[in-house]
């Protein structure tokens, strides 16, 4: 197990390097620091001197990959790629291009509002989806099943945007149950959290229920279920004891990988509900074309993804006795 985790972490390095390489190529080659400076400084007739100053302030005046002016190791270290990628390894994200804010501190501050929305959404969402999926799997072949699936297909055919707009309008504006958007600190944030959570859960239900239903029905057709029925177990017991634990295996693949991303927030939800989380941080950065922030978020995302993959593998060992991590 330990050897496995060590190997996975070692394997993560080339991937992280690949991600950095890709972002560096995208942000510094295809889109040169000069382009960046022009966009950020904004003015049309900006002097080359101002651009050079801007670049020097941010360390973008170095060559991208190989510095031919330096010698030895410095050929590689005195480059944008090295200077901007290496600190990321110890989560030093540097400062943003536009307002010169400390990205790392901003991330630490903003991940909690993100978590306060995505965690309840995640937990309630899984529970609701599993419950409904089991319900319609239990009544498979009946009208409840047929209409349940129809409803799921209809629900998954509606854009998230409509769920949000409709939810805000109906629950927020017409019924005035919750504030439409906004956020507050501490305990007061709850009233702002409820609406996005409700909408978030409902908008994923179509896809979620249908997926879990398929997983359950697949398990129900397995041989061991027939054995369990031949023992005289009730259908509820067959479903809830025998099928559920086996169905958890494919469910985990889907679910665990997204757990680290709970910190990461959701772009759309946070933008609509004005939650000061990482999602809106990213969206603001996108709209301001602040590549330092976008790059940091890409890096953070890759790390979380890799952590998610490792967590997925570990979680398998908890439900499936056949899997031993070697």
């Amino acid at each position: 197990m330990l050897a496995y985790i060590i190997r996975r972490v070692l394997y993560a390095f080339p991937i992280i390097m690949g991600v950095n390489l890709l972002t560096t190529v995208l942000f510094f080659y295809v889109n040169t620091p000069d382009d960046m400076a022009r966009k950020i400084l904004g003015e049309k007739n900006i002097t080359q001197e101002a651009i050079e100053n801007w670049k020097r302030d941010r360390g973008y005046d170095l060559p991208v990959f190989i510095n031919t002016e330096e010698k030895g190791l410095a050929m590689i270290t005195q480059t944008i790629f090295f200077q901007k990628s290496l600190p990321l390894l110890w989560f030093d994200f540097g400062r943003s291009d536009r307002n010169n804010i400390d990205i790392g501190r901003e991330i630490q501050k903003r991940m909690w509002p993100s978590l306060s929305i995505s965690l309840p959404m995640f937990i309630i969402g899984i529970m609701a989806n599993l419950t409904f999926a089991m319900l319609i799997a239990f009544y498979r072949g009946t009208y409840l099943d047929i209409w349940g699936v129809v409803l799921c297909v209809i629900m998954m055919s509606i854009s998230t945007l409509f769920y949000i707009i409709g939810g805000q309008y109906l629950l927020g504006k017409v019924l005035k149950l919750f504030p439409i958007s906004g956020y507050d600190t501490g305990i007061y944030s709850i009233k702002f959290i409820i609406l996005p959570v409700i909408i978030g859960v409902i908008s994923t239900m179509g896809v979620g229920i249908r997926f879990y239903r398929t997983v359950f029905l697949e398990e129900i057709n397995k041989d061991y279920i027939r054995t369990a029925s031949a023992k005289g177990l009730s259908e509820t017991r067959v479903l809830f004891k025998h099928a559920l634990k086996n169905a958890m295996i494919p469910v985990l693949t889907n679910v665990v990988v997204s757990i680290p991303f709970l910190f990461y927030g959701s772009l759309i939800m946070e933008a609509f509900f004005a939650i000061p989380g990482l999602g809106s941080f990213t969206i603001d950065a996108i709209q301001a074309q602040d590549f330092a922030i976008v790059r940091s978020m890409v890096y953070l995302g890759s790390i979380l993804y890799i952590v998610g993959l490792i967590l997925t593998d570990i979680s398998y060992t908890l439900v499936d006795p056949r899997i031993r991590l070697e």
């Binding site: 050897a3 060590i6 190997r7 072949g141 397995k222 041989d223 061991y224 027939r226 054995t227 369990a228 029925s229 031949a230 023992k231 005289g232 177990l233 009730s234 025998h242 634990k245 086996n246 439900v319 499936d320 006795p321 056949r322 070697e326």
Partner: protein
Amino acid sequence: MPEPVIEVRDLRTYFRTPGGIARAVDGVSFSINEGETFSLVGESGCGKSVTALSVIQLVPVPAGFIAGGEVLLRGRDIVHLSELEKRRIRGNKISMIFQEPMTSLNPVFTIGNQIIETIRLHQKKSTREAKTIAIEMLRRVGLPEPESMYYEYPHRLSGGQRQRVMIAIALACRPDLLIADEPTTALDVTIQKQILSLIRDLKREMRTAVLLITHNLALVYRNAERVGVMYAGKIVEMAPTRILFRNPMHPYTVKLMHSIPGMDKRGKPLDTIKGTVPPATMFPEGCRFSGRCPVEMEGCSRAEPPLIEYERDHLVACHLYDRGFMDRPVSRPITTGGESAPMRWTPSVKEEILLEVKGLRCYYPIRKGLFKRIVGYVKAVDGVDLTIKKGSILALVGESGCGKTTTGKAILRLIEPKGGRIVFKGRDITSLSEGELKPYRACMQIIFQDPYSSLNPRMMVGEIIEEGLKTLRPEMDRKERQEKVLSVMERVGLSGDMLKRYPHEFSGGQRQRIGIARALAVDPEFIVCDEAVSALDVSVQAQILNLLKSIQKDSGISFLFITHDLSVVEYIADEVCVMYKGKIVERGGVEKIFSSPEDEYTRTLLEAVPRID
């Protein structure tokens, strides 16, 4: 006369399918007494498994339903009980074990958990008492160290051990009836014998009635007191085992018995049944065997024969035994004339050596640790020597995992051997490059076990057979290839109009013929048959065996016949090599090995094979 434990009366189980109502079980009646084993035997699709599921009231819903009839458990009809009452019977009064021990146990619960679940469900026992019973059951089914076995997960057990666990679960509540649906089909023959004798012992001890479902007639002969032969959803003949085997009456039973390969039939073609089993949605109106029956009469396709007791305890459903029918003009026989006169084969084996394998080794690396270093090898094939004479059939027998398939594929260089030499017609081909190997590819071909995965479903039959010619005979033009394809199709008994059809339109037997035609197309001198008849029903198997034998006789092709089925070996092979754990333990002529085996393992293997005396 004792009251039967279970009595099935005129059971009908139908399935709704897109093609209409499938009458999988259509009027089946039988009864089983205490301590008796009754066996339902028949080929795939005859309805024997559905009968079993109907008895335990587990017909798959919503497609399947019991359309009529009664299942009386100690005189009480259970078909019309409520689901709750049916559950009290399942696992308690009637229990069942299935064919696939590898998938029939829930992988995420311990063995003990799965046994006590049944006990706790049907008996008022505390967990501790249930555990005591469970461990006792584990001991009774012969599992080593039952106390620690109790905490094991199924994946740690072998197939045979898992089937023992299944039996422990099934018998934990001492049921009145045990249904065993092909309990040993997925197991090796030595394990099969152990499992069957375990069932026999426990049955005797617990006075349980047993319903044994199988396709293997020899197994029935050894293990059942009474037999019902099923064909197309009906029982066509039912009798005590000894009587049935001494005096089979129904033409289907007779044909079935004659198509079993064995030592006594060497040198003669096996008896075959023409045509195929009709699908359950469109059974013939009259006798269901009409159209395939060798002694069919004019009235057979119109009137359905009832199951009548012709002799004491011997029931048969055939107009031949119906005096009323035979007295009428409808009993004029239909002359089919298709049956060719039996011919005798004489061995055409020459002493010339075609293929010689020396010290063949195939290893698979075992990787472990942080950097996945190779820490050892699985020695799948570990120093195998084989010699195949021109025009002969060498059988390579062994149980699953002994390395026989790997050997066959390594000889064809489909798997790269790690060591040893393969000498074909005097030339060492072990280390030839793929280009240098090309001339030899035409000489050495292979036929596979599974008729479904051996043909590319996206290619037409003509293209499949033509493929080898395209690569190996580039000098042939389209027309020549076409002619060659048609000629091999005719050789294997396929008609030319099948050329432009896709594999899924064919039955298993026909697909196997296509596979044979594909191999024959390039005029090989040597063919590896990798379990080529193991997946087929016995009547189809007989057709394919006859075909292979006649190919050997006509064209002098040598065969390496890889199989686990010893009755096939003794029928078809000239020489035998017995393989065990990657090594050949014994070799010799068929008669010698089967009459006086020297090796310990060979003897165990031979003793385990059920036989009909």
